[in-house]
């Protein structure tokens, strides 16, 4: 990771146009969110409520999943469990195969990105068409999402216009957003009619009723889940909530935090296949529930908070690092603060532990998270996991980021700073001989002057000023 991450950071920072574009986009998202949370007290109360709902669900996750599965079976939804992304891909493929599916449309789903589902299916000769506008754009461009809510956020209007022009030369060039959207809609409409199956993600699973909830703005989610005869939903096992009444507050938190919308244009509640006498809906509905490391995260009392996430992206929108880099530089499915706590746990600290270090712990993410995930605290915890040696706990890659030189330095520092008499001598000497200390401090002094050590430390001056210790 290290070299890779460093290279992509340097590349991203070199792209001035991207940075300006991101800054504008983030500023506008931040403003929109603020506008829909005018009352601080109400916001904080709602965040506490959101945290309680998600915390409660996680506290009885196994039972809720069982209950949910039972309801689904009653409703006629087939539930499949996948421990790994490979398993999940295989399950989806088998369902598609037994239904003789050649073409499918997809609604937006980050879990399908986690699975690498499109690639997997296309290798097997099944055509997957992304129907969410943002996903459609990045699929055309052959890219991956750079944001969990707005996958094509990194692309400017002009870039999108050029992309459309290149891919659909028959359609006249335009950089008008409405016209571009109309072009995409036209293409997608036809595909919906031809598709043998629709694949979607899920925002909430309701244990009480066995309902799958899907939040979206374009209607493509509704089309993907109702027009084709087969619907397959994929999602993570953590998405379950206990009851129907839990959904409205979470939905409100989600849409406001994500895009500053009081509610999205569409909110789909899917409870099963088409019933006798109904005019639309799929004949068959399947749900694939993916673990992919979530059980391991669940097993740790503190890190479990990671699973409260409702994927609103607010932490990303407020992150000063993401604003500088964009999503691709992270090299992971989930970028930004949520990615920096989730991905190292999912993929192991050895490979992705650096992401937990790539934060100033400024707290902007934790401040806005609608379910109050203490992201900075979890980043700190993962840093510890990366260097700890006692071999307890569940985090994969524990201790693998420990470097001998670094641990020696901290040991030396702690021996000194825990011995006041020695420390006093060290500080006084540093001040006395400050002119002899180096003025070049590695990367620090590439863009900054070295800090100046005082002629006399405070501990000496206080005595002169008559401050004492009793």
């Amino acid at each position: 990771m290290s070299g890779e991450f460093h290279d992509s950071v340097v590349k991203a920072l070199g792209d001035d146009a991207l940075r300006q574009h991101l800054r504008r986009a983030m500023d506008s998202l931040i403003e929109k969110r603020l506008a829909v949370f005018p009352d601080q007290d109400a916001l904080q109360a709602l965040r506490r409520y959101g945290m309680a709902i998600r915390g409660n669900a996680l506290s009885k996750l196994p039972q809720l999943l069982e209950r949910f599965e039972a309801r689904c079976e009653e409703n006629g939804v087939h539930v499949h469990w996948a421990e790994t992304t490979d398993e999940a891909n295989k399950i989806v493929f088998e369902i598609l195969q037994s239904n003789d599916v050649k073409r499918l449309v997809k609604g937006k789903s980050m879990v399908s990105e986690e699975m690498g589902l499109n690639h997997f299916l296309e290798d097997k000769g099944i055509e997957c068409l992304e129907s969410d506008l943002g996903e459609f754009i990045i699929q055309l461009a052959g890219e991956t999402p750079s944001h969990i809510v707005m996958p094509a956020l990194h692309k400017s209007k002009q870039e999108i216009a050029e992309l459309f022009h290149e891919k659909f030369p028959d359609i006249p060039y335009s950089d008008d957003v409405d016209e571009l959207t109309a072009v995409a809609r036209g293409i997608l409409r036809e595909k919906f009619m031809q598709a043998d199956a629709g694949i979607s993600g899920v925002n909430f699973l309701i244990a009480e009723t066995g309902t799958l909830c899907l939040v979206e703005n374009e209607g493509n989610g509704r089309m993907s889940t109702t027009v084709p005869r087969l619907h397959i939903a994929v999602t993570g096992i953590e998405k379950v909530v206990e009851k129907l009444a839990d959904v409205p507050p979470l939905l409100s938190l989600l849409t406001r935090s994500a895009t500053g919308q009081p509610i999205t244009t569409y909110f789909n509640m899917i409870k099963g296949p088409r019933q006798p006498g109904e005019k639309d809906g799929p004949q068959e509905v399947h749900l694939v529930l993916l673990d992919n490391g979530r059980s391991r995260i669940f097993a740790d009392e503190e890190l479990q908070a990671t699973l409260r996430c409702i994927r609103c992206g607010a932490c990303i929108n407020h992150c000063p690092i993401y604003t500088r880099l964009g999503g691709h530089a992270y090299g992971t499915v989930y970028p930004g603060p949520i990615g920096s706590i989730l991905e190292p746990q999912k993929e192991g600290l050895e490979r992705l532990g650096e992401l937990a270090e790539a934060s100033t712990l400024c707290g902007a993410c934790g401040e806005v998270c609608p379910v109050r995930i203490p992201i900075p605290k979890l980043l700190n915890r993962l840093r510890w996991e990366g260097v700890r040696q006692d071999g307890t706990g569940e985090t994969s890659g524990q201790g693998r980021r420990r470097k001998h030189s670094e641990s020696l330095a901290w040991k030396g520092w702690s021996s000194l700073a825990s011995r006041p008499v020695l420390y006093r001598i060290a500080v006084k000497s540093a001040c006395r001989f400050r002119r002899l200390l180096p003025q070049q401090l590695g990367p620090w002094t590439h863009v900054r002057k070295a800090p100046e050590i005082a002629e006399k430390p405070l501990r000496e001056l206080v005595e002169v000023q008559g401050f004492t210790d009793e």
């Binding site: 460093h6 950071v9 340097v10 920072l13 940075r19 000063p320 690092i321 500088r324 270090e357 790539a358 934060s359 100033t360 712990l361 400024c362 707290g363 902007a364 934790g366 401040e367 700190n380 993962l382 840093r383 510890w384 990366g386 260097v387 700890r388 670094e406 641990s407 901290w410 520092w413 702690s414 021996s415 700073a417 825990s418 006041p420 540093a430 001040c431 590695g442 990367p443 620090w444 002094t445 590439h446 863009v447 900054r448 002057k449 070295a450 800090p451 100046e452 050590i453 005082a454 006399k456 430390p457 405070l458 501990r459 001056l461 206080v462 000023q465 401050f467 004492t468 210790d469 009793e470």
Partner: protein, 244 residues
């Protein structure tokens, strides 16, 4: 109102900004309180804690726990060190024999500017020349300690000081302790944006509650050439209001 406080100056103030420490103590003393400087203080342990080295952090933090035997507030001229003591000591010592002591210390910790406004309700009389000043409230003071109002209201009390606001004022300056060394490119990009925003205000001085931010922002401005000076807010407040 307390009659005595402990002053925990932090390792950076000790070595790099001793005048800020003296000024913070003088401001409190002028309000009629006794200020105790425990001479055996070293560092709150934050650097190692944020690097993931919790055993080493705990060893250093443990050496601070006995410095505050009386039941007095502990005032810290840094949001991030105050945050470490207030919000992370209880976790760091969880399950250890020192836990109760750590919680007691945590309960008494105040960030300096917050203490001046929220506890002492200090009234400042500005004796200085007209000056244009920008405030960079450190992320820990703002978010972890919830004390963004304090610096703003203290500066607002200074009649001859015009406080100007930089764009994206709540955004991190890119210091982040070891972050600045481990991710130097991102840190540089952040501090460049921060200094640009501060320069655009045409302030002649930038003040902050945290030494880390001052080193970062001040170091960058000096490296770039001419620009606003930087100063710890305690030192600035003291200089503006000191009877000579």
């Amino acid at each position: 109102m307390p009659r005595t406080v402990y002053f925990f100056a932090t390792c950076l103030v000790d070595m790099f900004y001793p005048n800020a420490g003296l000024a913070g103590m003088a401001l409190i003393k002028r309000e009629g309180l006794k200020v105790i400087y425990p001479r055996n203080q070293t560092c709150c342990g934050q650097p190692a804690y944020n690097a993931g080295y919790r055993d080493e952090a705990r060893k250093v933090a443990a050496a601070q726990l006995d410095l505050f035997p009386g039941n007095h507030p502990i005032v810290v001229p840094s949001g991030s060190c105050a945050g470490m003591m207030k919000h992370h000591y209880p976790d760091l010592f969880f399950g250890k024999p020192e836990h109760a002591k750590a919680v007691d210390v945590a309960d008494r910790v105040w960030e300096l500017t917050g203490f001046l406004t929220d506890v002492l309700n200090i009234k400042l009389k500005d004796l200085g020349e007209p000056l244009r000043v920008a405030l960079h409230t450190s992320c820990s003071t703002r978010r972890e300690m919830g004390m963004a109002h304090a610096g703003e209201s203290l500066l607002a009390q200074l009649d001859a000081v015009e406080v100007v606001e930089q764009t994206h004022k709540a955004e991190c300056c890119g210091f982040g302790g070891s972050f600045a060394v481990k991710q130097p490119e991102i840190s540089s990009a952040m501090v460049r944006d921060k200094t640009e925003a501060l320069r655009a205000t045409e302030a002649s001085l930038v003040v902050s509650q945290d030494s880390g931010c001052l080193m970062n922002i001040g170091g960058a401005i000096e490296h770039q050439g001419e620009g606003p000076k930087t100063q710890h807010i305690a030192e600035f407040l003291w200089e503006r209001t000191r009877e000579r």
